[in-house]
Symmetry: C2
Subunit: 340 residues, 2 copies
C-alpha cells in the first residue's frame, strides 16, 4: 500500500508494529534504500577501516520521564547498548542528543544525566559526543533523548534471522511486559500490592554469555522492545522466511502484569521490554546457552518458549494453554504511545 497525498501521521506510525513497518517501507526505504539499510536489523553492520562495526540509533520520548525502575536516561543508554549487543557487537561508544523543552528543571536534567552515566558505566560504554537543543515551551514535552551507538563485531561472527533452521530453539531471558506495564500503570495511576518495575537494563553481558556458550549455534538475537514479544517474533519469522511456534504456557509473566493487562484489556505479549533478550539457537547448544543465561542475575528467569518450523513461512503460531493453536500477529495500531 502507498500513502495518499493527504494522509497524516498517526500515533500508530510510531508503534514499532505494522504501521511503522509500512511507513519505513513506503517513505524511508523508498528514498534512502541501500543494501545496509534494507537489512532492517537493529543495527547496521559496516565495513570500516578493515574491521566490522555495528551502528544504531534510537530516539526516546517516554512519558513519564521518571518511572519505577529507571528514567528516560536509563532507557536511552540501555536501548542503544541493547541494539548493539543483540547484533553480536561489543558496544563501545554512544552519542547523546537532547531536545529540551524550555522550563525543564535543571535538577531533572541532572538526574537523567546521572542515570545515563550509571547505565553507561554498567554497560562499559563511553558517551563521547553530544548535542543540546532547547525549544520553546509547548514545542516539546519536557525532554527527548536520541542516542546513537557504535560497537565492534568480532571477525567471523554472523548473526542473522536468515540462519534460522527448522528445529532451532527460541529462548527468552525472563518475564515479558514489565516495562510497558510499568509505564502504562504510571500514566493510568494504577497501583499494585506488589509493585511492578521497568526491566530496563543493559544486555551486553548476557548477549556475550549466549555467544560464548552457543558459538556458531547462535543464529540471531533480538530485544523485544516496542511491539513486544509478538511483534519481534513476527519480524524474525518474516526475515527468516520460517514459521515460529510458541508455547503460551512457557512464556513467563508476572502475576501483576497478567492481572493489570486483563483489567486494561491489553495483551502482555505486545508490551515493550527494555532488558530482555530473545535468542534463536541450534538445538545442539540450546541447553548450554540456557544454562549460561540462567547463571546471570539478568537471565535467571530464562526459558525455552518455542521452536522454528519448516512450514508456515513468515508466521508466528501460538499454542495456547488450552491446546489450540492460533496465529500471533504483529502489533496493529498503537495502544500505548511513548512507551520508550
Amino acid at each position: 500500500m502507498k500513502y495518499e497525498e493527504d494522509d497524516l501521521i498517526i500515533l500508530g506510525h510510531g508503534s514499532g508494529g505494522a504501521l511503522t513497518n509500512q511507513l519505513i517501507k513506503d517513505v524511508f526505504q523508498d528514498a534512502f534504500g541501500n543494501p545496509i539499510l534494507d537489512e532492517l536489523l537493529d543495527a547496521a553492520v559496516l565495513e570500516v577501516g578493515g574491521g566490522r562495526i555495528a551502528f544504531t540509533t534510537d530516539s526516546f520520548v517516554v512519558d513519564p520521564i521518571f518511572f519505577p525502575g529507571g528514567d528516560i536516561g536509563t532507557i536511552a543508554v540501555c536501548g542503544t547498548v541493547n541494539d548493539l549487543a543483540v547484533s553480536g557487537a561489543e558496544p563501545l561508544y554512544l552519542s547523546s542528543g537532547f531536545i529540551i523543552e524550555e522550563g525543564l528543571p535543571i535538577a531533572d536534567l541532572r538526574r537523567i544525566v546521572q542515570s545515563m552515566r550509571e547505565s553507561a558505566k554498567d554497560a562499559g560504554v563511553h558517551i563521547v559526543t553530544g548535542d543540546t537543543k532547547v525549544v520553546d515551551r509547548g514545542s516539546a514535552d519536557k525532554v527527548f533523548i536520541n542516542t546513537a551507538g557504535i560497537g565492534v563485531i568480532p571477525d567471523g561472527r554472523l548473526l542473522s534471522p536468515r540462519r534460522m533452521e527448522p528445529g532451532d530453539v527460541v529462548l527468552i531471558s525472563g518475564t515479558m511486559g514489565d516495562h510497558g506495564l510499568t509505564i502504562l500503570a504510571q500514566r493510568e495511576g494504577l497501583s499494585f500490592s506488589t509493585p511492578v518495575e521497568s526491566d530496563c537494563a543493559p544486555l551486553n553481558r548476557i548477549a556475550k554469555a549466549i555467544l560464548e556458550a552457543g558459538g556458531d549455534g547462535v543464529r540471531c538475537m533480538r530485544d523485544p522492545t516496542r511491539g513486544g514479544l509478538a511483534t519481534t517474533l513476527n519480524e524474525l519469522a518474516v526475515q527468516s522466511k520460517r514459521g515460529i511456534l510458541i508455547q503460551e504456557e512457557e512464556i513467563p509473566l508476572r502475576r501483576e502484569v497478567v492481572g493489570a493487562c486483563e483489567m486494561l484489556g491489553i495483551d502482555p505479549l505486545y508490551l515493550a521490554n527494555e532488558g530482555k533478550v530473545i535468542a534463536v539457537v541450534a538445538p545442539s547448544v540450546a541447553d548450554s546457552v540456557l544454562e549460561a543465561m540462567r547463571d546471570l542475575p539478568e537471565g535467571k528467569g530464562s526459558v525455552k518458549i518455542g521452536q522454528v518450523l519448516g512450514e508456515e513461512e513468515g508466521l508466528v503460531l501460538l499454542e495456547t494453554d488450552l491446546g489450540a493453536t492460533r496465529i500471533l500477529g504483529m502489533l496493529e495500531g498503537e495502544p500505548l504511545p511513548r512507551i520508550c
Copy 2:
C-alpha cells in the same frame, strides 16, 4: 558557576553560545566526562579496529521546517556531514532518528526525506540505520530529526586548535549569516527585493580541497553554525589558548543581510551558517588553500579575514571598519531559537 537546585532550562541553553557551554560543562561533562568528550570537538575521534573514525551527532528542531534554500531534512544531513568534514574525516555513514508530531502530513515527511536523500547523494554518504517515534499532538512541533554520523580519518591527519600558531591565517568560505537571517525572515514575515536563501550545503568537498592544498599546514577547520562566526572564533581562541584578530571589513556579508540585521537590531556575526567553513592555516599555505577554495562553487567567495596572535590569549579582537579594535565576545543569551 554551578546551577542552583531550582534553576530551569531557558532558550539560551540551546543557543550554542555561552549558556550552552556552561550547561555542557556543569551538567554533561561533569557526569559523562572522559578524555574524548572533554576535547569538545565537532566530532569525537575514536580508535576502532586499528583505524581512526570520527563520530558526531546533532538534533535539528528548525522552525519553519521548510525555508528558502532547504528544509529540516537538508540541514539534518548537511549539519552532520559538515561536523565530520571539518574534523578532517571523510563522511561515510549517517543514522537518522525522527520524532514526529501526530498529524504531520505524510506528504511533508516525504518531501523532507527526499531532501535528505538528495543531500546524502550530494555528500556521498549513506543513511544506514534509523528510528521513528510519534508523539501525541502538542508534544512536539511537527518534526525533529537527529542524525549521527561516522567518517574515517586518514592516518597521520591531526586537526586541532591546539596546533594554531601566532601568524596563522583565518580563512572563511563566503558570506556570513545567510542561514540564520533566512530563518528569521521567514518567522518575522520579512521579504527582500533580492531574496536571501539558506546556505545549507555539504562541506566535505571543500574540506577535502583545503586539506589537499594545505597539507599539514591546515591547523583546524570549523563550521560556524549556532552562535555564528563570533562564537566559533571564540571557541577556537579558548581551545587554542591564542588570540585571534579579525578585520571587520574583510568579512563578506550580503547587503540584504546587513540591512535586515540593522532593522532587527542583531549582529550578523552571531547568525548561524550551514554551508560555510572556517580554516586556520599556516601562512606558508594560505594562498594556495585560498585558491583551492575559490576554485569550487561553494568557496568562490572565500577570503582571509584575520590572523592568530601571540597575545590576548583566549580572546577574539575585531578591528572595525573605523580602525578601532574591540573584543568580539561569545553569543550571550538566545536571540534566535530553533535556527537549526
